[in-house]
Subunit: 268 residues, 2 copies
């Protein structure tokens, strides 16, 4: 059991911010990462479609022996967590609950902001989770569809990025939030740019860090003596995946395999 | 034969700029439009994947009786046109050739710029087509991955869009192009913003207009007495499709059906 890997999936490259935190926290665990780069992005897609994709991705990780599955994608966590938890034989954790918990324990004035993809925001998953944890918090949310492409373009410190962040965050800043959840696994790439816009008085909650902490609490054996191997799988365009991983995230991708769309798990 | 519809497909909503021109040109023809909104965008995906998707989309239009197929997507035209022409029993036209022809007949100094998605630019399809038509043209190209999300966000006249266009077009302007191909069917949405940045001395070639003109030349019967019905199909998120169509493109979407991913044509 111990030797089986931790499974992580995301719609693409964004979940690597979660991978990075988990790798740091668990240097000896093997990790299998699947990025669904053929069907990225999940953000603008319907719940039915995102659910169907998430189930296929999780099944693929199970076939690779995963002992636990981390949904490193906010859209997918918002929409498919419960369904995966109910139907899979291993524990499944998403990024919403850990992010919401951290935000609730961080805020002083009870005003929490959330930014994410259209899918994540539309689902109201963070608002629900926060209101379960603490009734008197107020939540202000904003979909930011341009931030993922900006992060992938590598424009972390470009004036366009600053201007875009200002535009999106204006209504949240007017509400005087003191805590802002980065509700998309791409956003940690833009953390510095976002912090500059909101100023030092607003605490940013990075869901990658939060989920890694939660995983540490629930992973059965923390004394794994493995050598910490990484295996990456994508459904398309491995070159672009490798390039963004090294250029923006400073992650060296060793073993990377493109999974053929024709394989039966994908179409089942 | 005459009564059979014109089939148009795109990765999503961008091809509606082509639909709009074709509808204008052929008021009495029936049109079937398919937008692959479950798998959008095609721009960053590999050739193999874009080819496979394009074939599935074209087959769907054939099943709906299309007498001719218009690939209203530059990425797909770059990658899959020849394959579709060789394998389908009806004529297939893409957006590359008409755009290239218009550009070659427009340029005075022989310096043509092309902007498009990563997939379109990487394929060098425009450069090849232009050099076939006129040996002594020089072609300068630039991938602009942020323009599609900016167009979909509806930020046509936002400072962020102007700044982004300036950044992308800088190297092309330095080469003193006099003609610029809008090599993505989303870009006509940003036409005014692009024209402002490049100034009045550079002619913009809109591939939607160009393909509609080519279609007029080759469509067997121009005297169709139909009533010009529209049928729209998408693979996901019909609300968003309808919303962008009406908000940005001023197209009223009447008959819109979401095609179920589980249907066999999709998975074959």
């Amino acid at each position: 059991m111990n030797k089986r890997p931790i499974g992580i999936f995301d719609s693409g490259v964004g979940g690597l911010t979660v991978f990075r935190e988990i790798r740091k926290q668990f240097p000896k665990e093997d990790i299998v990462y699947f990025g669904d780069t053929a069907r990225v992005p999940y953000g603008p897609k319907s719940y039915t479609t995102v659910s169907a994709y998430s189930i296929q991705n999780a099944r693929f990780l199970l076939q690779r022996g995963a002992k636990i599955i981390v949904i490193a994608c906010n859209t997918s966590s918002s929409v498919a967590l419960k369904q995966l938890q109910d139907s899979l034989p291993v524990p499944v954790i998403g990024v919403i609950e850990p992010g919401a918990k951290t935000a609730v324990s961080t805020t002083r004035n009870g005003k929490i902001g959330i930014i994410g993809t259209e899918g994540t925001i539309r689902s109201k998953a963070y608002s629900r989770e926060i209101s379960n944890l603490k009734k008197d918090c107020r939540v202000f949310s904003q979909a930011c569809p341009l931030l993922v492409p900006l992060a992938e373009e590598g424009w972390e410190d470009h004036p366009v990025t600053t201007l875009t962040i200002k535009e999106y965050l204006k209504p949240l800043l007017e509400e005087e939030i003191d805590t802002l959840i980065l509700g998309c696994t791409h956003y940690p790439i833009l953390k510095e740019a976002i912090q500059k816009v909101v100023g030092d008085n607003i605490v940013l909650v990075d869901s990658a860090e939060a989920v890694s902490k939660q995983l540490y609490e629930i992973l059965p054996d923390k004394e794994n003596e493995g050598i910490g191997e990484d295996h990456f799988f994508v459904s398309d365009n491995e070159d672009k995946f490798r390039q963004i991983a090294s250029r923006i995230l400073n992650i060296k991708i060793s073993k990377l395999i493109k999974v053929n769309l024709g394989e039966s798990w994908y179409l089942s």
